[in-house]
């Protein structure tokens, strides 16, 4: 199908109008820049400061020496035993480990057989 003269004339007339250009493409995607060492050091310093502050505040909130003495002395200092000590006993004197654990449990855990123990209360209910 051949365009007639009128069509050609109209095409040429329309083509004289230029088109608007679209807004530019978004910028070239950049590879992620490496964080400078200074920024990392600053971040580490901030974390350290935050941890120090939290520790200090925690100490400020903890009970003073007078309050501490009012607490029931369930575990006298002499009887306290650390996990390190337990580990050492387990390695060197495994046969005594059970007795150590029993002694610790008796001091640390509530006595369920006493008059006000949980089991007695439950049995009464």
């Amino acid at each position: 199908m051949k365009p007639d003269r009128d069509d050609e004339r109209l095409e040429a007339w329309l083509q004289q109008f230029e088109l608007r250009a679209p807004r530019p493409l978004p910028g070239k995607p950049r590879p992620q820049a490496r964080r400078p060492a200074v920024a990392i050091a600053a971040l580490a310093a901030m974390v350290l400061i935050a941890i120090s502050l939290m520790t200090w505040r925690g100490r400020m909130k903890s009970p003073g020496p007078q309050q501490a003495t009012q607490q029931p002395a369930q575990t006298p200092a002499g009887d306290e035993i650390s996990f390190a000590q337990l580990s050492r006993i387990a390695r060197q004197e495994p046969e005594k480990l059970d007795s150590h654990l029993d002694r610790l449990s008796a001091k640390l855990l509530p006595d369920v057989r006493s008059g006000e123990g949980v089991l007695n209360r439950l049995s009464r209910e």
Binding site: D7, L10, E11, L19, R20, A21, P22, L25, P26
Partner: protein
């Protein structure tokens, strides 16, 4: 040989085909800003492609068309241009041609969308009717018929302006 596109390649293609694609997208969506968004999506997607399209122009028109149709299916865009659509201008109007340019845009708005898109592809996209038909997935005869009807209607609408 197929070569992966760099950002500079994409930017060149954008400079070369962007204006015609913007006119085409605006003719479909009725809103230039929305058409620009579509163009950006299409061109930035080229960056992720392993191969450069063999024939960029029809490929880009088709990509823009598909995205515009998807946007229209989403119901968020107009399918026909309205006179008060401020953002629907897509022609540069040089001094002394402002009125005529506005008349062209107005006349284009009055075309049925399927005729309007053939006109944009043929007149401003500088595509052959065979290329336009391939983009629209219609026969060349159908594209030619739409184009002739559109020109006939435009001639009537622009009678005063073309003299």
């Amino acid at each position: 040989m197929a070569v992966k596109l760099t950002y500079e390649d994409v930017r060149d293609l954008y400079g070369q085909h962007g204006p015609a694609l913007l006119a085409y997208g605006t003719s479909l969506l009725g809103e230039r800003a929305a058409a620009e968004d579509v163009l950006h999506q299409v061109f930035l997607k080229l960056l992720g492609m392993d191969k450069r399209p063999e024939d960029a122009r029809p490929y880009l028109f088709k990509a823009v068309r598909n995205r515009c149709l998807n946007a229209m299916r989403g119901g968020s865009r107009l399918t026909s241009l309205t006179e008060d659509a401020d953002g629907a201008e897509w022609l540069v109007k040089p001094a002394g041609m402002v009125e005529a340019g506005l008349d062209v845009e107005k006349a284009m708005r009055e075309l049925p969308p399927e005729q309007r898109e053939v006109v944009v592809m043929r007149i401003w996209g500088r595509m052959t009717l065979a290329e336009a038909a391939a983009v629209l997935e219609i026969s060349e005869n159908t594209a030619a018929s739409r184009y002739r009807y559109a020109l006939s209607k435009l001639r009537g609408l622009l009678q005063g302006s073309t003299k």
